[in-house]
Structure formats: C-alpha cells, structure tokens
C-alpha cells in the first residue's frame, strides 16, 4: 500500500506560531522574582587566578552575590552531551563550573548575581583578578612542543588521544601502488552561530527539586550532567526545553546550566537567568575543530586506490568537550566512501589555549571530506583521470560491510548521486564553459562526495522513547524525548505516527517542550539520529496503539478485532473495506463507557542496534576574480541519498541550511585569536563573516531514495549530511578555475589573492 503521509510536505506544526512571534523561547518564559547572572571571564589565555577583587562589584546597587570557585563543588564534570557510559570511560571529566586554572581566554572564573541584568553586567566589569601567567599555545604544534606546559595536568604533551584506525597493511598497499601522492590540508575554527544564544533559567520547584529551563539539545543528558557537576542525585533536577532557536551541536554541550543552577542554589532557590551574549557564544561556548591533515595515497595504473594514509592533528582548545571522537571519526568516513584495501588513519586531538571545540554539524566530516576530496581531485588531475570514472571505480560498493565495525552499508547510492547529479547540474556543459571569462574572471567546476553515519551505534548507546495517547476525540498526543531544535523533527515524527496509525498528520499533536520529568527517555538531538532512532520508537508505539485501537473496536463494535484496521481516521473492516466507526467515536467510548472504559496509550523504549549510511555529492561552479581574489559561487547542487524522504519540504530546508553554512565555511568564516594574548579578535557578527542571504547563491538539491531496511519507512539521517561536501567541491572548483591548488580553508579574497601571487612567483601553494 502506498504511503499517504510519508513523503508529503506536511507543514511544520509550529511554523505559524514561530513566524508570528507567539512561540516562547527560554528567555520569553515569565518567571516571578527573577534574578540575573553574568559570568566573569579571564583576561588571559593560560595561567592561574591568584586572587579576585570583588569589593567594587559587590558595592554596585542591586548586586546580591559574587560566586567564585570556592563557593562551588570541587568535582569535575564532562560537558559533552554523549550518552552516559556505565564505566564513565566515554568522556573526559575536566571541567569545574568556575575555575582558578585558566585554560583559554574568557575562561569562567567568577559569576555575579544581581537584581537586574545591567547591575550584573556593571559588577562583572568591576571584578579584577591577579594572575600567574603561563606560556600560551594557540596551535596544536605549539602545544605538542617538547617541554610545553600541560594545559590539564597529566595530559602528556597536551595530546588528549592518539589513535590509529587500520584496514589491511598500509605499507603493503603502497608497495602495490604505481603512483603515490602526498599533500597537506588545513581547516579553520568556525562557530555555529545558532540564532538563539545559550539561555537558561533555574529555580527551586515546589517539591524542593531544581528546575532548569534551558535552550539545550539534550535535556535528559543535561539532567545527568547537572547531577555530576553539582554532585547531587540526578533526580534532583528537572530540565525543560522549550522552543529552541537552533543548536547545530553547540547546545549538545552543557555550558551554562550547572552555573545557573548553582546560582539559584546560592540564592536559596530564587529564580536566576543566565543569558549569554553573542560575543560570549562565539568565543566561549564551542567551536568546530580546526584539523591539519597530512595525506598519502597510493594508486595503481588501472586507477584503483591501493593505500590511503592520513595523519590528522585536531585542535580541541582548552577543554576536552567531545574529546577525540570528532577527529577519530574521519577514519570511518574515509573507508566507507572509498574502497581502500589498505588504510591507516592516525588522529591526535590536542589541547590548546583557544576556544573549546566540541560538536558542530557534521562532526569532523566537513574537515576530513575537504582533505579526502582535495586528494581525489589531485590524483585525477595529475593522472589525467576522469573525476567521475575514478570515483565510480573506487566508491565503496553498496552492501559491503563497514571495514572498521562490520555493519553492512545495506543502502549506498553514492554512485547514483554522482551520475544523476552530474546530469541535473549540467556538469558537462558547465565544464565546457569553464576557463577565462574575460577581464580578470576565471570559471571552474568542482565535485566532491561524502559518506556519513546516521547514528552513533555501535560506538555509543542508541536509545529513544515515545508515548502516544489516544485523546477523547480520536486525535493523538505524541510525547518523545527527541529534541526539536528548529529542524522540524516533531513534524517528521508526527508523520510517522500518523502513517502508522492510519490518520492524517494534523491529528497527531506534537509537544513544544521536552521535560525530563514527563518526556520518555531519549538522548536527544545530535548525530543525524532522531528520524532514524526516535522514528522507529514512534512507529513501534503507533503500531502498539493501533493494535489497542483494533482490540477496542472488537470490544465496542460488531467486528472481530483481527479484522479491524484504521484508515483515514475511521475504524474499518479490513476484509470488507467498510467503515465501522470514526476513530473519534471509538475514542469517546474508551474514555466514557461506564462498564468498559479504558483509555488507550502506548509507550515504547527503543534500543537501536542499527546504523545506516547517508551518502551524497556536491557539484559547484565558481567564478574567481583573479585581481581581487573574490570567489563567487554561480551554481551549486547537493545530491543526497538519505533513504526515503519523510517530508520533502523540510528535507529541502535542511539541505539548504547545511549548504548555506558550508559555503561560508568554504569562503568566509574564520575565528581569529590574537597571537600574543590568545584573545579572540572577531567574536562579533560584524567581524565574524556569517553570510547574509545576499551572499548565498541559488541552492539546488535532489534526493536519491533507496528504501533503507532499518530506518522508519526507509529513512536515513539528513541533519548533518548537507554540510559535509560543499566546501570540498567549492575548493575543487576554485582550483580548477585557477589551475593550481589551494589547500587551506577558508578561501577568502585575501587568501586567494595571496595564493595567486605566490603561484605567479613560483612559490609554494598556500
């Protein structure tokens, strides 16, 4: 039977309330007797606070208290929003809520609580610190230098982890190669720039426990981390997530919640709000890892990859946050994109005195894809191989097992994305049209492919929950622990419930808040997991509820329950096709039949033991002004295999958003630090070049839709894949236009111009 709801562009249930300004975000929620917090930040990048002078701050009218590290539990917590591991081996417990040990400029050394935000701001400015200063290390290379001071005591050489993922024997692979290519690639520090800054409000609830309303992607994990950070039982906390203005991974870390709860505790339970400013979010929450890759690839005469070796050095900043998982993920990406008989992927994650890197949409994959596809481009150019034929000959084959974890990549349509995308993009015509375009403009085309993983199995726990309740009128209330953060997951999940139940999507009510006291357990919004993992929980719960509906039909109507089914919100006789009763009529009976009333609910917790692989390709066409270095993206297409698309309009929105972020990752965004002090230089939206709509070209996308056997209705993840390959494709297009390589992001006018000058002067590539 064909789907009625899946595959249709059901409007987001929250769209009108958001565009009309009715939706309440954390800072919109009124709370009585509110106090306001402000973080006092270190003005050095590495050292120790010897003393703090808080006198002037305390004298500011309206200031009630200044918290210092001495006021808080000494226990350390891990900020990453990873699922808990029973042996606590998963994350690095390296963070105090406030610290005397300064590991990056802006580290949190004290906090002010006041009656107004202005009083808190004024007071925070008046607090002065005396420091003992240590040498600062702004690059991984500096931090790894022999004799460098350990940023965290006990982290030898400031290397958090050093691992090598292996397939076959890479030396044997190079022995089989007829050609060997080597190069280096560098990516920069960028930031998420979600619209809503981190905001949280904490207060003591009527039951004596602590409520924290927060703009978080991970309410259930946040509750656990509050327990760990404040050294209290986890159930002492209730985390409520209202509407969220984006997260992109930055809100998959617990950044301000422990402090705001500690502030409320310090004030005897009075509500306290902590709302970061954009400058703080850019510099002092989380950023994307800058990674330096050294790659070496062996290729045989017949155009097959024989060996691929990577040495990656990733800069994580002052704290571990997501630790080594971001850099290490690249190995799995490399060997699932291409068939590589012999691979060695070494990655090191290094502490530095710079902004703390954590999760950001794509989780290390835009970086490794840049390195992989720049190498692929180099190989094709130098061996004069067709970039399509070379990729098709070397792509990982559909159905093959993941070389590192053995999970079969049952659906993998990367080859279709490449060939169908080539047609849609008009690659051949655009290739013919490339080259000198008059004046100082040169035109080029580029292509790049990527591999991704939907969820985190088998490396981490995958669990999701859903509770469905049949309302009195036959509509259904859906509660999930999955986190709606702006991506539209609620609407997609409601479609899954509706399709399974045989009702229209508008009969399923999603829930705007996720409340850890009420919502079923789910680890939240990260990876590209929720449609895939929570979607299965929803489908299972819907099947269970439908079964209960059919059994109730057998009870209330003249129909054997085995013959009952639900279609278009009516109970039908599946044998005759006749309508037996409306779902509303049946629902009313389940609530109010004096003798046999029994309300119908279903609750499912789904422990997912699957993973599926979203794949895709980006095609880009650019103009490069060789006088000014300006790169203009003329056209760009993302072709995705994310399995069956649940909601085409929302999927398109997701892809366009990812492509927009990726284009400025390629061309503009870069967070700078003062080389002498480590102070962030451009942590504001004037100097940090987030693109505007005028900087973003027309974005085109297409979907190849195999039915994945594991995801609900054949779906795979789509949240992160759109950002993985555009930067690499744009870089390849720029190199095609210029006729030489540029191997560091972003390709800003200044850098492209410098590269052109260097190339003219016979200098090395930048």
């Amino acid at each position: 039977m064909s789907n009625k709801v899946i595959g249709t562009s059901v409007p987001r249930w929250d769209a009108w309330s958001k565009v009309c300004g009715k939706a309440d975000y954390t800072a919109d929620i009124p709370v009585k007797n509110m106090l306001y917090g402000k973080i006092v930040r270190a003005t050095i990048a590495h050292g120790r606070v010897l003393s703090l002078d808080t006198q002037a701050a305390l004298a500011v009218p309206g200031v009630l208290k200044v918290l210092t590290p001495a006021d808080l539990p000494r226990v350390k917590h891990a900020t990453a929003g990873h699922p808990y591991t029973l042996d606590r081996s998963g994350d690095v417990y390296d963070k105090n809520i406030l610290t005397e040990d300064v590991r990056l400029y802006g580290d949190e050394i004290a906090a002010v609580i006041a009656e107004t935000q202005l009083a808190a701001d004024i007071a925070a400015q008046k607090i002065t610190a005396v420091y003992e200063e240590y040498p600062i290390y702004l690059t991984a290379q500096e931090a790894m230098t022999e004799g460098a001071r350990e940023i965290h005591e006990g982290t030898k050489g400031n290397i958090l982890a050093d691992t090598t993922a292996k397939v076959g024997n890479v030396e044997e692979g190079f022995a089989l190669a007829d050609y060997v290519f080597e190069d280096e690639h560098r990516t920069q520090v960028v930031q998420h720039c979600h619209m809503e800054n981190q905001t949280a409000t904490a207060f003591q609830s009527a039951d004596g426990r602590w409520t924290c309303i927060s703009s978080t992607q991970i309410p259930h994990i946040c509750r656990r981390i509050l327990g760990e950070a404040l050294d209290m039982p986890w159930s002492s906390f209730r985390v409520i997530k209202p509407f969220i203005g984006g997260g992109f991974g930055n809100k998959q870390d617990v950044t301000i919640e422990p402090l705001v709860v500690a502030m409320s505790i310090a004030m005897g339970g009075r509500p306290v709000r902590l709302e970061l400013e954009r400058e703080e979010v850019l510099a002092y929450t989380r950023v994307r890892h800058a990674i330096h890759y050294r790659s070496k690839v062996g290729v045989s005469k017949d155009g097959k990859i024989t060996a691929w070796q990577v040495d990656a050095v990733s800069k994580t900043g002052g704290y571990a946050s997501h630790g080594h998982s971001v850099a290490a993920k690249g190995g799995g990406i490399l060997c699932t994109l291409y068939e590589i008989p012999h691979m060695s992927f070494r990655s090191r994650t290094v502490l530095t005195n710079t902004g703390n890197a954590g999760a950001m949409r794509g989780y290390g994959v835009p970086q490794i894809t840049f390195a992989i596809e720049a190498m692929t481009d180099k190989i094709c150019k130098e061996l004069q191989l067709d970039p399509f034929e070379f990729r098709l000959a070397n792509f990982k084959k559909e159905g093959a097992p993941h070389p590192l974890n053995g999970i079969p990549m049952v659906t993998n349509k990367v080859a279709d994305c490449l060939t169908l995308g080539r047609q849609r993009f008009g690659w051949d015509a655009k290739m013919a049209d490339s080259g000198a375009k008059g004046g100082s403009v040169r035109r080029g085309v580029g292509v790049a492919a990527f591999s991704y993983a939907t969820g985190v199995y088998p490396y981490s726990l995958e669990i999701a929950g859903c509770r469905l309740t049949l309302n009195q009128d036959g509509t259904v209330k859906m509660l999930v622990g999955a986190t709606e953060i702006g991506q539209g997951i609620d609407t997609g999940l409601a479609q899954i419930a509706a399709e399974t139940l045989g009702i229209p999507a508008e009969m399923v009510y999603a829930e705007e808040t996720t409340d850890t006291d009420i919502a079923p357990f789910d680890t939240g919004a990260y990876a590209s997991r929720q449609i895939y993992v929570t979607g299965v929980a929803v489908a299972k719960a819907a099947e269970e509820l439908k079964d209960k509906i059919c059994r109730a039909a057998g009870k209330f109507y003249e129909i054997p329950h085995s013959a009952a089914d639900v279609e278009d919100a009516f109970v039908i006789n599946s044998v005759t096709g006749e309508r037996v009763a409306s779902l509303g009529d049946l629902a009313l009976r389940t609530y109010y039949d004096k003798a046999r009333a029994q309300t119908l609910t279903a609750e499912v917790s789904h422990n997912c033991h699957d993973n599926s692989y979203p794949m895709g390709v980006t095609f880009a066409e650019v103009d490069v002004d060789t006088q000014t270095g300006v790169v203009t993206v003329r056209s760009i297409l993302n072709a995705h295999d994310s399995g069956v698309i649940i909601n085409p309009l929302l999927a398109k929105g997701q892809v366009e958003g990812g492509m927009g972020m990726a284009i400025s990752y390629a061309l503009g965004e870069d967070l700078f630090y003062d080389p002498k002090t480590g102070e962030p230089l451009n942590n504001n939206l004037l100097d940090y070049k987030m693109p505007t709509c005028m900087d973003t070209p027309e974005l085109d996308c297409m979907f190849v839709e195999p039915e994945d056997p594991f995801g609900p209705f054949g779906a795979k993840g789509l949240g992160e894949p759109p950002i993985c390959s555009p930067a690499a494709a744009i870089r390849n297009a720029v190199c095609h236009a210029l006729g030489f390589e540029i191997n560091a992001l972003p390709l800003t006018p200044g850098k492209v111009f410098a590269a052109i000058q260097n190339n003219r002067g016979g200098g090395a590539d930048v």
């Binding site: 004024i122 300006v630 451009n682 693109p691 005028m694 800003t748 006018p749 200044g750 111009f753 410098a754």
Partner: protein
C-alpha cells in the same frame, strides 16, 4: 541593557547646542546605530552619558536643492532617505549607491549620514563618496553656524574636528562638486550586505570626449581617515581613458594612500584593492560594469 543617565530631545538646533554647552556629560545621539553598540559594550566614553537626540529637530533630515544648485543634506537624514531621495537620485546617484551599501535595511532606516561622518570612521561609506564630491559641512555652535570643508574634518580614527557643543547640521555639495561629473562607489567587503568595507573607493569623473577632464578619487580604509588620492588625480587630468591609464591611476593611488597590515586584511591585499578598485569605480561611474 543600556546604561545612560538621560535622554533629551531638543526642539531646535539652538536648544540642542545649549543642552550640550551646559552639560559636559552630554553627548549627541542621532540614529544610535553606533552609539548604542558602544553603550552595549560598555565603552567608557559612552556609558552614563546624558544623551541629546537630534533626529527630530525640524529640518535636520531634509534634503533640498538650493537655487544656486547646492545640494543640502540634513545631517540626520537616514541612509534610507538618501537612497530614495529624488534630488540625490537626479544629481548625485553615486551617493545613493554609497548610502545603500551601509549595513542592512534596519541600519539604513536608523543610521544617519551625519553620524557616519561625525563618528570618524575611515570605513564610512558616505564619507569617501562625499569627499570625492568636495562636500562642505555646516557646523552649528554657540557662536552660530560655520561652514568647513569635509577634507580635513577627519583627524584620526574616531576623531573629527568637532568641539563639545558643536553639532554637525548639514552636508553641502556645491554645483561645482557634481555638475558634469559621473560618480561611482565600490564597497569592497567580505559580505554583500551587513558588512564594513575592507576598502571603499569613490570616484567623480568629468569627461571631455574620450579624455579625462577631471577625476576625483577618495578612499575609505586606505589610511586612518578617508582620504583623496591627489597624485593619481593630478596624473589623470587630460589623459585619454583606456585600460593602461586606469592601471596607472591605480598605481599612483598607492603613493597617496597608507594601507597597513591587520588581522582583517594584509597590506599587500589592501594595496592590490587600492590599485584595482579606482579603475573599476571609473568604469562603473561611466556606466560599464565594474562592481567589485
């Protein structure tokens, strides 16, 4: 939240001058698009001030054409007003272009041309354009109005020739500043909107057949203040317009400017823009393509 002592609006320019003269803590606020940002970041020169609002003073936002052909722009005219004004569109379309390149629509609705000048930023888009028009400024003070050239008004980054108690009232462009000239402004920035110029280049060119009769070139961000390229202008006079001449003009501009290295852009890159953009601005002024 904003930390200021008071906000007063004056009924006319004399009252505004009086409010300023009577109170050393007073400070002018017009559109607020710079002042409020500095207040928010708790800049010591701005917190705790008594602000005197000037945008609602009658006449302060007017744009008019005098009988002698002088274009008079009220200092509190918003960028949006300049962008859409009929007099400007007819006689000084390149100023509309420059005003239209500032920020985004919200900023252009609030921000004023007077603020753009008095703020003292080298990057001010209307400053270099007006400098290329030989604009003059009418400054109101306790002793009445004085008129000074815009050239020389900028003293350094964030510093202009305004004493406490003086208010920039009008910007004037005399007929000789624009008649017979075509103007062009190129704002080179990383973004196409909501950005500050990496380099701004304004030109006013008067042609005599295919010969350049007169050329004025002004830059933003080519030095600590908006500046004119005197030697390039002198060279250009009488030359026949062609690519080689435009390139030579660009090279001459390097003698007139003082680009420096910063984390925002390298000196060599700024110098490249200084030598490339004037030619493009000339082409743009004369109706060809040439947008950076």
């Amino acid at each position: 939240m904003y930390d200021f002592a008071s906000y007063t609006e004056a009924a006319d320019i004399h009252e505004a001058v009086g409010l300023l003269c009577a109170n050393p803590n007073a400070r002018i606020i017009a559109g607020g698009t710079d002042v409020l940002i500095k207040l928010r970041s708790r800049d010591e020169a701005f917190v705790g001030r008594d602000f005197v609002g000037v945008t609602r003073i009658p006449g302060m936002t007017d744009i008019r054409l005098c009988d002698d052909g002088t274009i008079v722009i009220g200092a509190a005219a918003s960028f949006a007003k300049i962008e859409g004004d009929a007099v400007i569109a007819q006689h000084l379309p390149s100023l509309a272009q420059a005003a239209g390149s500032v920020g985004g629509p919200q900023i252009r609705n609030m921000g004023t041309v007077g603020g753009n000048l008095a703020n003292g930023a080298t990057s001010a888009d209307t400053a270099s354009m007006l400098l290329a028009c030989d604009a003059t400024l009418v400054i109101a003070g306790a002793q009445g109005d004085t008129e000074v050239p815009l050239a020389g008004f900028h003293q350094g980054p964030g510093r202009v020739k305004l004493e406490h108690g003086q208010i920039l009232k009008e910007i004037r462009v005399a007929k000789a500043g624009y008649e017979g000239y075509k103007g062009g402004y190129i704002k080179f920035a990383v973004r196409r909107a909501m950005d500050i110029a990496t380099l701004g280049c304004a030109v006013m060119i008067k042609m005599d057949g295919d010969r350049i009769e007169d050329l004025r070139i002004a830059f933003g961000v080519a030095g600590p203040v908006p500046l004119r390229a005197a030697s390039a202008e002198a060279y250009a006079k009488g030359q026949t317009l062609c690519d080689e001449v435009l390139e030579q003009i660009g090279r001459k501009c390097l003698e007139d400017t003082n680009a420096r290295d910063s984390w925002r852009a390298a000196k060599a890159f700024r110098q490249q823009l200084i030598s490339v953009l004037p030619g493009r601005a000339v082409r743009k002024a004369l109706g060809g393509d040439g947008d950076a």
